[in-house]
């Protein structure tokens, strides 16, 4: 019998990515603590900070104008939900490696990019579902969302989730323990979120501001997450509600978020594509 000539089914990148993506989703919803962790904490933060800081937050000298803090903080919380879900999804890579599941994927006849796509897509869809659930709370405000801006919003959330999950993948791929990931989360991911205009507005660069405010302005301006938050803000609220808040144009938000997602996904594929001795740590 000629062993090499045996008929073998053709493997498909998309089929492999789809099955790995579906696995992520099934796993997530079977672990109730993950659902609660990713959705519950941001909602709790939103309610506590939103109501607690309401009186000290004024965007305009005229109290009747501008947004309440609950409203201002809403897009930031939405992105925080995406971030938390992305973090949990990518921590699962470390678990997959430690628990042994990853090894059977690594010796399957599929490109590593299919594995990355499955993981990132799964994590992003979970994040999107949670984001949309939270979005329903926006009905509490008098936000006038057209169908077009709702579709835009869901799409932007999905692209943002892709970017954040890919970033998480890049950070988690070579990590040996979930403790190490928590350190990265506190040192990199949470500051990225805090400096995105989610929690406090980007200080304006113009006018008479001190050097520290100017430094903060530029830190926040080069942070890609700023554009995810600003994009959500632009799609949710009209221009009048954004007076006094430095907010990039919607087109800029789309371009930066799209590039952020593309770059992070490419980086994740590249970093996972290198077959090295240390694959099984």
């Amino acid at each position: 019998m000629n062993e090499t000539a045996l008929p073998q089914p053709r493997t498909s990148t998309w089929l492999a990515a789809r099955t790995l993506c579906w696995r992520e989703i099934v796993r997530f919803f079977r672990q109730r603590n993950r659902v609660i962790g990713a959705l519950g904490q941001p909602i709790l933060f939103w309610l506590l900070f939103g109501t607690g800081l309401a009186r000290s937050f004024r965007l305009s000298s005229d109290a009747s104008e501008g947004q309440s803090f609950l409203e201002y903080y809403f897009p930031g919380t939405l992105v925080l939900i995406l971030l938390f879900t992305a973090i949990f999804a990518t921590i699962s890579i470390i678990e997959d490696r430690r628990e042994g599941f990853l090894q059977s994927v690594l010796v399957a006849p599929i490109p590593r990019s299919a594995m990355v796509l499955g993981k990132v897509l799964g994590g992003s869809l979970i994040a999107l579902v949670q984001g949309v659930v939270f979005l329903a709370l926006a009905l509490l405000f008098e936000v006038d969302l057209s169908i077009a801006s709702l579709i835009g919003l869901v799409t932007l959330l999905f692209v943002s989730a892709l970017a954040l999950t890919s970033l998480g993948f890049v950070l988690a791929w070579r990590m040996e323990s979930t403790q190490g990931f928590h350190a990265i989360m506190n040192l990199l991911l949470m500051p990225m979120w805090l400096l995105s205009g989610a929690f406090f507005p980007v200080p304006p660069a113009a006018g008479t501001i001190g050097w520290s405010q100017l430094a903060l302005h530029w830190c926040m301006r080069i942070n890609p997450v700023t554009y995810c938050v600003a994009g959500v803000r632009r799609l949710m609220y009209d221009d009048a509600a954004l007076i006094g808040i430095w907010t990039p144009q919607l087109a800029t938000c789309w371009i930066v978020t799209g590039c952020f997602a593309g770059l992070m996904f490419a980086l994740a594929c590249w970093i996972a594509g290198k077959r090295v001795t240390g694959d099984m740590l």
Binding site: M1, N2, E3, T4, L6, Q8, P9, R10, T11, S12, L15, A16, R18, T19, L20, W22, R23, V26, R27, R30, Q31, E99, G100, F101, Q103, S104, V105, L106, V107, A108, P109, I110, R275, V276, T277, D279, M280
Partner: protein, 313 residues
């Protein structure tokens, strides 16, 4: 062209930093045989397994599986081999059936073909009634069966197993071998690593690895025959002195292994009688046994099978 060699490796070496895990290995494994890599932990078995399963890249030397190059044709090789790792590769949050279906999708097996294969494998492995249970609820033996089902879902012609009996009770181990024998009868080449001497006995041929070296390579019977008729082990107070005396009077190949005098001889009962006659007053215990694979290991390496591990511990 008919390929009769399932695996062929020449000059295969592998290092982790300074430590050399495999030292220039050469061997061929035939199509259809059950082949075991036997050795203590740290002998290089797992490294070799990872290289053959394409998990890690080859650093030095060459290897082919069914004539396909391990360095360049990994994807083609992966389609033709089934891999069962020592560490479980099941997703505990998924059911038995879901685990198998996900694995099948990675190999492009879907639809009616998948359903037929899945049903067949679950029946053959006796886990059909567990198909919808989460794998985290299964015993170690049942999980290993699911691992086997995962490894065989794409009907590979070669199955690689890393320490397949680890953590299994004797009953589960017997079930495993029953299944492996069925696969052998169906013409599947089976290559496994093991640190269990009795498991290696079941293989058609074995390769003994010690500290990255291939120290022996043959059928279990030939290996045992290669070291003479029988082995005598003697417990005494001063083994070194007794060895010196035996060497001058009876057998030049006597040695001290693990605090006991040990010698192989063609005519065991006769040598036993002479030893008792000459040194009977000093001997505390004496045993005569047919050589085992452990005796082969001791003769080839000069130390006991578990010595390294015990010292490390």
């Amino acid at each position: 062209m008919t390929i009769r060699t399932a695996i062929s490796i020449t000059g295969l070496s592998h290092s982790y930093g300074e430590r050399q895990a495999l030292k220039s290995l050469d061997l061929d494994i035939r199509v259809g045989e059950v082949f075991a890599f036997l050795g203590p932990n740290g002998g290089g078995k797992t490294t070799l397994f990872r290289l053959l399963s394409t998990l890690i890249p080859i650093q030095q030397g060459n290897g082919t599986i069914f004539g396909l190059d391990l360095s360049r044709q990994q994807t083609d090789i992966r389609r033709r081999i089934g891999v069962v790792f020592q560490a479980p590769s099941l997703d505990k949050k998924l059911t038995v059936s879901e685990n198998i279906r996900h694995q099948a999708a990675l190999y492009g097996v879907t639809g009616a073909d998948l359903r037929r294969r899945e049903t067949g494998l679950l029946d053959q492995l006796g886990i059909a009634d567990r198909a919808n249970e989460l794998t985290e609820t299964l015993s170690g033996g049942l999980r290993r069966r699911v691992e086997l089902a995962k490894g065989m879902i794409h009907q590979p012609r070669l199955l690689l197993l890393d320490e397949p009996s680890t953590g299994l009770d004797p009953g589960a181990r017997a079930d495993l071998w029953q299944y492996l024998n069925q696969l052998r009868a169906a013409g599947v080449t089976i290559v496994l690593t093991t640190h269990l001497l009795d498991e290696a006995e079941r293989a058609d041929r074995i390769a003994i690895l010690d500290q990255g070296n291939l120290v022996a390579f043959d059928t279990p019977d030939n290996l045992r025959d290669s070291i003479g008729g029988s082995t005598i082990t003697i417990a005494v107070d001063d083994p070194e002195r007794l060895v010196r005396e035996i060497k001058t009077q009876l057998a030049p190949e006597a040695s001290v292994v693990d605090g006991r005098v040990r010698l192989e001889c063609e005519d065991g009962p006769d040598a036993l009688a002479r030893l008792l006659q000459e040194f009977g007053d000093r001997i505390q215990a004496i045993t005569l046994a047919k050589p085992t694979l452990e005796d082969v290991f001791i003769q080839k390496t000069g130390h006991r099978f578990w010595q390294d591990r015990e010292e490390a511990a």
